[in-house]
Amino acid sequence: MDEKNAYKTFRIASIRRDNYRVKTFTLDGKLDAKPGQFCMVWVPRLNEKPFSIMNADPLEFNVAAVGEFSNKLHELGVGDKITLRGPYGNGFTLKGKERKILLIGGGYGVAPLYFFAKQCLAQKIEPIMVIGARNEQDVLLEKDFTDAGVRVIVTTDDGSKGVKGFATVAAQAELDAGGIDAVFACGPEKMMASLARLCNDRNIPCQVSLERYMGCGMGLCGKCVCGGQRVCVDGPIFDGAEALKAKDFGKKSRDASGAAKTL
């Protein structure tokens, strides 16, 4: 069977607390994965959920405690087991001609972009990172980016840190300043829809990372679809212009029953 579908058990090597509800888990092994891909993390007798990969070697995940499942992960300690399958999905793609790119992470969407930024730096591509958060407390991984040598622009909705306003406003200013060859975004879908339109208007290629309720993760159950595209295998990364053609993008998602819900 396909190796990505096999369950792999790791032990937690270290845990770092990032803020009042986010922790970074470093595991004792690696995975052959690309930035933008995700794993299905299984907690026996509870559930299984998708998490984007923050680092492949060693394997790292950035987990916000926002529900029953993620709270359970937060209860785990160093030495405990983490079992997962993957990596799944297509990942971000570079055309090979980019020299300077803009990354925009909204809320918890920052982690996969950190993985991607490091890949870009290794390929001599200059990433500029916009970290968007509700307030100062929610700003994630700023130091990780700056330590890696990435210029970071922080925006907060309430102005408690960095530029006041949405990440899209800072992104627009960077795009208008010129020199950006491509844009990569991960965050709330409404934010990504706005970015995709900004990029469309300026003829700048844009890739967005979609989040959906995920059932099988293997392209069969259909719960994660956006406009006929299966986010788990056809995505989660989509070309912004293509995503805008799907009537659900930025507007609707589906719940565990498969019913469409307004975002």
Partner: protein
């Protein structure tokens, strides 16, 4: 070029490759994509009266021979589904798959499903191996239950009606005959098998949240072929062969056992949503290279070549 046009009771398909229920069939656009990819017909995810969240994840697990699934009939309920599929305009006919707790509820859902203009046929599933209250877990896999449920649905619709059976039941011929006598136009043979179980040895736990699940994929194929062979000898109505079909050659094997059309599910994982059109092309190429003008020339030939009785 062989003519793949398939007559399935009163339904005419451009080819015999049918997207099986439960495979991406949650949204109208997914079904449209399968249709655009060349499917002969597409089937909705099975729909119940009310919305169901289904089982927790994992709902599906891979093993060497295929997959186990225990989705637990997650679906948004018949009223939401009617809305969802009302705009279906794919070239492949739309088969509405429904499930219910008993004959009366089956009748009510069938009446609603029948009202959908896009609905070309109705499939009733009496064979789910992993959802309490439904299918084999609710005793629907008996000749008596099959007869009562099929009759109740038949009263509510004049559209072609197929009954989906379990490959894990011995008295298949009797059940298929009961469906035929109660007015079914076709038998879908059939559902996933089992249930089976996969245990992760590092965690010492069954992987599926429901612990057990139906077996699909290549491991199911020989069982499904045998079931199709048996059912073909029991009834006169056409048989849809479903179980482990991943290639045109698999489909041809199913057809030689007696299937008029083939259901395709797990192959979408292996080959993508365009797999139905690809399998149809593979069937056509094989028929051409072997001098057959249409699939009807090979349906059930395994019986003529090697008579059982």
């Amino acid at each position: 070029m062989a003519d793949l046009t398939t007559k399935l009771s009163r339904l005419t398909l451009r080819n015999p490759a049918i997207l099986a229920s439960g495979i991406t069939g949650v949204s109208c656009e997914s079904l449209k994509r399968a249709s655009d990819g060349g499917a002969g017909a597409v089937t909705s995810k099975s729909v119940t009266m009310d919305a169901r969240k289904g089982h927790n994840n994992p709902i599906m697990v891979a093993f060497e021979g295929g997959f186990l699934n225990a989705v637990g009939y997650s679906n948004p309920g018949i009223d939401h589904a009617l809305q969802e599929f009302s705009s279906y305009d794919g070239e492949a006919p739309f088969i509405f798959s429904i499930v219910a707790k008993d004959a009366e509820e089956f009748g009510e859902i069938a009446r609603k499903a029948d009202s959908l203009q896009a609905c070309a046929a109705i499939e009733i599933v009496l064979s789910c191996p992993h959802t309490p209250g439904y299918g084999t877990m609710a005793g629907q896999g008996t000749p008596q239950a099959t007869s009562g449920i099929t009759r109740a649905v038949r009263q509510q619709t004049k559209k072609p009606l197929s009954v989906k059976l379990s490959p894990s039941i011995q008295a298949l011929g009797e059940i298929a005959k009961a469906a035929e006598a109660a007015g079914a136009d076709a038998v879908n043979m059939g559902n996933t098998a089992g249930p089976g179980m996969v245990i992760d040895i590092e965690r010492g736990q069954p992987v599926l949240a429901f612990k057990v699940g139906g077996i699909s994929g290549p491991a199911l194929k020989p069982l499904a072929v045998r079931c199709v062979y048996d059912v073909y000898e029991s009834v006169k109505i056409p048989v849809i062969g479903t179980g482990g079909v991943s290639t045109g050659r698999d489909a041809l094997e199913m057809m030689m056992a007696g299937a008029t059309a083939v259901g395709i599910g797990t192959a979408v994982h292996y080959r993508g949503p365009q797999v139905l059109g690809e399998i149809a092309r593979e069937i056509g190429e094989w028929l051409d290279s072997h001098g057959y003008a249409s699939p009807s020339e090979i349906i059930g030939i395994a019986h003529e070549n090697e008579p059982r009785k």
